[in-house]
C-alpha cells in the first residue's frame, strides 16, 4: 500500500473496513462525523452493515447485538455520545463480547464545543459505566497510528473478548496527513464465528450472552474471572514510547496529540541544552506502570501535559508516589497547548530540578 494524504476520521473508518469490521452503528457528532459518512457508502458497497442509529444509546446496543452474534463491529463518537454509551459498555464488559469504540474527544463538560480536547481520559480509562470493569484504551498521536491502532483494537478485542477504545481527539480526527492503509483482510465466514456467539443452536447447546448473575457468590466469581483476564492483559499488552530520554533530567509524560506537541517542545529544549525527553503511554489501560516507575530512577522531575485540567496526572502521581516532583500543565476547553508554552514549562521544570540538585550537592 502506498502512502496517501488522509483525513484522520476517514483513515480510521477505512482502517476498520480493512480490519474486517462487518457492522458499523453510529450517530452523527462532530468531530468524528466523517467516519460515519465514509462508512455509509463503504459498508453497503461491500455488502456489510451500516446503520445510522437513533441515538448513541441505540448504537452501542446494536454493537452489542452484532458482537454477540460473533462479528467484528464498531461505533465511533465523541464525549456527549460516549457518555450515552456508558450503560451499554458496561453490559458489553459484563458479557465479555469484543467490540471497538473510537472516541474523537472534544471540549466539555456538557455540550462544550467541537474543538480538540483530552477530556475523556477518566471516562474511558477508569470506566465511566457501572461495575468493576476495564477496557483496553489506545492513544494514537498521528494519523498513521490512528489507522494502526484501529486494526490493533479489533485484534485485541477479539483476543481477550473485551471492548477496545481508540482514544483520539478532534485534531487527529480532522487533520490530513500522509499515512498508509493496511491491506484488506478476509472477512470471517459465517461458520467461523466464535463458539460462544449467538448463531442459532445447531448441533450444540444454546448459547447465552448475558451479564446477569443474581447470586452474589456467582457474581463475585465472575468478577474474579474478569480481574484475572485484566491481569493477563496488563502483563502482555502494555505499549509506550520513549523519546530522547537518554540522559534526560526531566521527562514529559503525555499521550496522543499532546505528546506530539511535546516532541516539538523537546527538540527546542534540547537545542537550548536542556536535558529533557518524553515518556508517552500508548496504552492508557493497561498503563505502562512498571516502565514509568523505572523512569523515576532516571530523571529528577516529571512534567505531565494534557488537553484537560489534569486527568492522567492522577495516574502519574500515584505511580511516582512523590519520589520525584510532578508538575502539571494543561490547556482545556478545546484549547491546545502550544509547543512554546510547553517549552516554557520545561525550562521551569529543568531549573527547579537543577536547583534541587544543587541544594542536594551543597547539603
Amino acid at each position: 500500500m502506498a502512502r496517501e494524504l488522509l483525513k484522520g476520521n476517514v483513515a480510521f473508518a477505512e482502517a476498520a473496513v480493512r480490519a474486517g469490521c462487518e457492522a458499523y452503528f453510529g450517530y452523527p457528532i462532530t468531530p468524528q462525523t466523517e467516519a460515519l459518512e465514509h462508512l455509509s457508502t463503504r459498508m453497503p458497497e461491500l455488502g456489510r452493515t451500516f446503520v445510522q442509529a437513533e441515538s448513541e444509546v441505540a448504537a452501542i446496543n446494536m454493537v452489542y447485538g452484532a458482537a454477540a452474534a460473533g462479528v467484528r463491529t464498531m461505533t465511533s463518537s465523541s464525549g456527549p455520545g460516549t457518555s450515552l454509551m456508558m450503560e451499554g459498555l458496561s453490559y458489553l464488559a459484563g458479557s465479555e463480547v469484543p467490540a471497538v469504540v473510537v472516541d474523537v474527544m472534544r471540549g466539555g463538560p456538557g455540550l462544550g464545543n467541537i474543538a480538540p480536547a483530552q477530556s475523556d481520559y477518566l471516562q474511558m480509562v477508569k470506566g465511566g459505566g457501572h461495575g468493576d470493569y476495564r477496557q483496553i484504551v489506545l492513544a494514537p498521536s498521528t494519523v498513521q497510528e490512528l489507522i494502526d491502532h484501529t486494526v490493533l483494537a479489533f485484534d485485541l478485542a477479539d483476543r481477550y473478548r473485551i471492548v477496545t477504545v481508540v482514544l483520539a481527539d478532534g485534531s487527529l480526527g480532522q487533520m490530513m496527513e500522509g499515512a498508509e492503509l493496511p491491506p484488506m483482510r478476509h472477512l470471517r465466514l459465517p461458520g467461523e464465528r466464535p463458539a460462544w456467539a449467538l448463531t442459532g443452536a445447531i448441533m450444540r447447546e444454546p448459547n447465552l450472552v448475558s451479564s446477569i448473575h443474581l447470586d452474589p457468590d456467582e457474581e463475585e466469581a465472575f468478577n474474579r474471572h474478569l480481574q484475572a483476564k485484566y491481569a493477563e492483559i496488563a502483563a502482555a499488552e502494555v505499549r509506550f514510547e520513549e523519546y530522547r530520554l537518554e540522559g534526560a533530567r526531566v521527562a514529559v509524560v503525555a499521550f496522543g496529540t499532546t505528546a506530539r506537541l511535546a516532541k516539538t517542545a523537546i527538540t527546542a529544549a534540547r537545542a537550548e541544552g536542556l536535558a529533557v525527553g518524553l515518556f508517552r503511554p500508548i496504552t492508557l489501560w493497561p498503563y505502562p506502570e512498571v516502565q514509568l516507575r523505572a523512569l523515576v530512577k532516571r530523571v529528577d522531575a516529571m512534567l505531565v501535559v494534557e488537553m484537560n485540567t489534569g486527568q492522567m496526572v492522577e495516574d502519574v502521581q500515584r505511580i511516582v508516589a512523590e519520589r520525584v516532583p510532578v508538575r502539571f500543565f494543561g490547556r482545556t476547553g478545546g484549547v491546545m497547548p502550544m509547543p512554546e508554552e510547553i517549552l516554557e514549562e520545561l525550562r521551569r521544570s529543568a531549573h527547579e530540578a537543577e536547583a534541587a540538585h544543587q541544594e542536594e550537592v551543597s547539603a
Binding site: E54, M62, Y64, S210
Partner: protein, 287 residues
C-alpha cells in the same frame, strides 16, 4: 412429559415444547408470562425454527427468559432489546430474531428503540407483555397503567393530570410505515390464548417473509402487584384492560387486508375488535 387421552392410547395431545428448557420458572402463581413463553416456544417448534432462533430478553420479570427458552439468547439493557436485536439480525439475516419485553421496558425507557426499530422496518419480531405495571421492581406505575389504577408509585391512582393516560403502543406503531404486522391479543382465557398463538405464528411468518417489523402485544396478568388472586387477575384483564387496550389487528400486510379478514392467518376476529376496523394496510418491505 406426555399426557395421552385414554381413548387414543398412543396419540399425544400435550407435549412439552422442545424450545423450552426444563428449568422451573420463577414466575408467580397466576402470572401469564409463562403462558406467553409456552405459546412462543410452541410456534418455534411448529416452524421447526429452534436451531435458527435467537431471542433477546429485556429487563423485567422476564429477564430470565433466556434460561427458559432452549434457543440462543441475548440479554439487553433495560429498553434496548430492539437495538440489540437489530445488531443481531443485520449480521444474521437468516436467523429468526425476537425480543421479549415488558411494558416498562418497551413503552417507557425503551420508547425510542422500539419506535425506530419499527421506522427502519427492522425485520424482527417483538413480543410485548403489557401488564400495566412494573412487575419486577415491585409494582410501580407503568406508561400503560390504567387511569385510577393504584400502584406502589401512584398510591392515589394514576391521574390524568400530571401522569397522563395509558400509552397505546400498538396503535402508535401501526402509524409507522416500516411496521408490517402489529396486533394486540390477550391471555385472559382459553379462546384469547388460542388467538394469541395464531398471532405469534403470523408475526414470525411475517419476519420469515422479510416483510418488516412485527409485534404482538399481549395483555398479561400480574396478580402479585395488582393485589388480586389469579382468577380475579384474569377478570381484571377482561373487564378493565381490554376496554382501555382494544384487541385487534392494527397493521397487517396488504395482501391480508385485501383478501378480507378470514383469508389471512392473522386473526382479526379477536374479541373487542372495534379496533380491527382501523387496521392500516402495511407496505410490504424488503420482500
Amino acid at each position: 412429559m406426555t399426557v395421552v387421552a385414554p381413548e387414543h392410547a398412543m396419540t399425544p395431545v400435550y407435549e412439552f415444547p422442545d424450545s423450552l428448557t426444563s428449568v422451573p420458572t420463577h414466575y408467580c402463581p397466576g402470572c401469564t408470562h409463562g403462558i406467553a413463553h409456552r405459546l412462543i416456544a410452541e410456534v418455534i417448534d411448529e416452524l421447526a425454527a429452534k436451531e435458527r432462533t435467537i431471542g433477546v430478553a429485556s429487563v423485567g420479570c422476564s429477564v430470565f427468559a433466556c434460561r427458559y427458552f432452549d434457543v440462543d439468547f441475548g440479554q439487553a439493557p433495560h429498553g434496548r432489546a430492539p437495538a440489540m436485536a437489530t445488531g443481531i439480525k443485520r449480521v444474521a439475516p437468516e436467523a429468526l430474531v425476537f425480543t421479549y419485553q415488558g411494558d416498562g421496558d418497551l413503552a417507557s425507557i425503551g420508547a425510542a428503540e422500539i419506535l425506530h426499530a419499527a421506522v427502519r422496518g427492522e425485520n424482527i419480531t417483538v413480543f410485548f407483555i403489557n401488564n400495566a405495571i412494573y412487575g419486577m421492581t415491585g409494582g410501580q406505575m407503568a406508561p400503560t397503567t390504567l387511569v385510577g389504577q393504584k400502584t406502589a408509585s401512584s398510591p392515589a391512582g394514576r391521574s390524568l393530570v400530571g401522569q397522563g393516560a395509558p400509552l397505546r403502543v400498538s396503535e402508535l406503531l401501526a402509524q409507522v410505515d416500516g411496521a408490517a404486522f402489529v396486533v394486540r391479543r390477550s391471555l385472559h382465557d382459553v379462546v384469547q390464548i388460542r388467538r394469541a398463538k395464531k398471532a405469534i405464528r403470523r408475526a414470525f411468518e411475517v419476519q420469515e417473509q422479510g416483510l418488516g417489523f412485527s409485534m404482538v402485544e399481549l395483555l398479561s396478568s400480574c396478580p402479585t402487584n395488582w393485589g388480586l388472586k389469579p382468577d380475579a387477575a384474569l377478570d381484571f384483564i377482561r373487564d378493565e384492560m381490554v376496554p382501555a387496550f382494544p384487541l385487534g389487528d392494527f397493521k397487517v400486510p396488504e395482501a391480508e387486508t385485501a383478501g378480507a379478514a378470514g383469508a389471512g392467518t392473522a386473526d382479526s376476529s379477536a374479541a373487542g375488535a372495534d379496533a380491527a376496523g382501523s387496521a392500516v394496510a402495511g407496505r410490504a418491505r424488503r420482500g
